[in-house]
């Protein structure tokens, strides 16, 4: 895929993050271009989630700079809420709002943040629910939904804000095996439509199929990156080989 000419949606420069004395991110630099799908893999505790969460400032970084769509998000003058409107985030634990119905989950931020009318927000929400295949449950509460359905609602909720980039933090890790497919299908559709995506996952099949680039992290650094064909068949680092042999 020709990605060289497209502008950078995310640009991280020398990002450092500490948790107490633990260095969670150690001089990480990474660019994600418009429309690119980047999959981040690595052992637990390697800093993948921290990296992802720092892109919309759910984690404050200790050094380095992060640009989203050309804006330095750690600039004190920047309104982080404006950035977050453009950055969709999907969590491992879904985090749907349990006190709101499915449709209200999708309309809330549209109305409160994007200042859309209720009708406009509802119409868009219904369209997105059709897309993720949950139309018949639009007035149900999240606790009446399966995990897979909840996660699809969460994805639709993010999409309702018309984000320029979607971040996925292990979106299928909390799901029963039979529900993983339905969530991955939604993500694949999204990828085909050209959404810029950064995905932290252990689903290697998904990575192989969707990723433009795979990033392998260990101990807070990016150890290796490459296109899926190379990465899976011929990794250069011993650590990567070991990890892949354990997981595949």
């Amino acid at each position: 895929m020709p990605t060289a000419e497209r502008h950078k949606m995310v640009s991280m420069e020398g990002v450092v993050k500490y948790f107490g004395r633990l260095k969670a991110l150690n001089q990480v630099s990474l660019d994600v271009k418009d429309g690119e799908k980047v999959v981040i893999i690595g052992p637990s505790g390697s800093g993948k989630s921290t990296l992802l969460r720092s892109i919309n400032r759910l984690e404050e970084i200790d050094d380095g700079r992060i640009f989203v769509d050309g804006i330095n998000i750690y600039d004190p003058a920047v309104d982080i809420n404006k950035i977050r409107e453009e950055v969709g985030m999907v969590f491992q634990s879904f985090n749907v709002f349990p006190h709101k119905t499915v449709i209200q989950n999708l309309t809330l931020a549209q109305i409160v943040v994007r200042k859309r009318s209720k009708e406009e927000a509802t119409e868009r929400a219904m369209r997105l629910l059709r897309k993720v295949g949950i139309t018949e449950k639009s007035s149900a509460y999240p606790n009446q939904l399966s995990g897979g359905q909840q996660q699809r609602v969460a994805i639709a909720r993010s999409l309702a804000m018309d984000p320029k980039i979607m971040l996925f933090d292990e979106p299928t890790s909390a799901l029963d095996p039979e529900m993983i497919g339905e969530v991955l299908d939604v993500m694949k559709t999204l990828a085909r439509e050209g959404m810029t995506m950064v995905v932290v996952t252990h689903e290697m099949g998904f990575a192989r199929e969707v990723a433009d680039r795979i990033i392998f992290m260990d101990n807070g650094t990016i150890l290796e990156e490459g296109i899926p064909e190379h990465f899976f068949t011929n990794p250069s680092q011993e650590r990567t080989k070991l990890f892949l042999s354990q997981i595949l």
Partner: protein, 270 residues
């Protein structure tokens, strides 16, 4: 009439569930069959006693019962007024305690610590007379403000615990959608926290109802004060305080039952 204000003593022991000792009104649950019976016996028992006293010994009991209803109304007004004001104070205290700004959380914590460290009766005197130096307010208003300031600290802790009981991911999800902290608090966190907060607030309400008897020393003609006035005139101390105690018991038991019903409904809706 010692204003003991320890709601719940938690004795933690690893491996065993914590023992919760409530000194507030015994709020019965459906599971607790013995307590449920105890509630019935005391509630209907007191009603029967009241009726018997009036029927068989109208003098002085009928006169006492004719004299105290004004006081019940005042007690009710003080209780409702204080609880509403305490809820507002509690909300801001709870939010303040959780604020990332050191100065705000510092002030809120200071307020809670100071209030919790002083007996309620002393606080009532202090706030009542401190208010009197600044503004001239009716006795009842001062008493309500004083009670609310005291109870606001406990309410604050309830709000704080309620807000903290909501998983962190909810706030993160809301913020990720571009909501400000206050939007997320108002739209996502507080509506969920209310369900957690409501039962302990019910407890506070009953506790406040009982503690409101303390305002009788502040020239507020509540139930206890009316009783004292009547007793002082007629020298029927024993009879009057019997009635006062019975009336408090009936009201308190009634509200504890109401609150436990409410709790059941909430937990059923979950």
């Amino acid at each position: 009439m010692a204003p003991v204000r320890r709601k719940r003593k938690k004795i933690e022991d690893p491996g065993r569930p914590p023992i919760v000792v409530g000194d507030g009104a015994a709020i019965p649950t459906k599971k607790d069959v013995g307590l449920f019976n105890a509630w019935r016996i005391s509630f209907f028992g007191s009603l029967v006693v009241v009726v018997c006293l009036i029927v068989f010994k109208p003098d002085p009991y009928l006169r006492i019962f004719a004299f105290v209803p004004d006081g019940i109304w005042v007690t009710f007004k003080v209780t409702v007024g204080s609880i509403l004001l305490a809820l507002v104070i509690g909300l801001f205290t709870g939010l303040g305690r959780l604020s990332t700004r050191k100065i705000i959380s510092g002030i809120a914590s200071l307020y809670v610590e100071v209030i919790r460290g002083i007996p309620l009766l002393v606080q009532l005197f202090y706030i009542y007379f401190a208010l009197g130096r600044i503004v001239q307010l009716p006795a009842m208003t001062s008493a309500i403000i004083a009670m609310a300031i005291c109870y606001g600290a406990y309410m604050g802790e309830i709000f704080r615990a309620g807000i903290q009981s909501i998983p962190k991911g909810q706030m993160e999800a809301a913020r990720s959608l571009g909501m400000t902290k206050s939007q997320a608090m108002a739209q996502v966190i507080l509506p969920q926290a209310v369900k957690v907060i409501l039962p302990p607030i019910g407890n506070e309400f009953v506790a406040l109802l009982k503690d409101s008897s303390l305002v009788s020393i502040l020239a507020v003609a509540d139930l206890l004060r009316r009783g004292r006035e009547f007793a002082a005139e007629t020298f029927t101390y024993f009879e009057t305080y019997t009635v006062v105690a019975l009336v408090y018991l009936i009201i308190t038991l009634f509200f504890s039952k109401l609150i436990s019903r409410m709790e059941e409904r909430i937990s059923a809706n979950r």
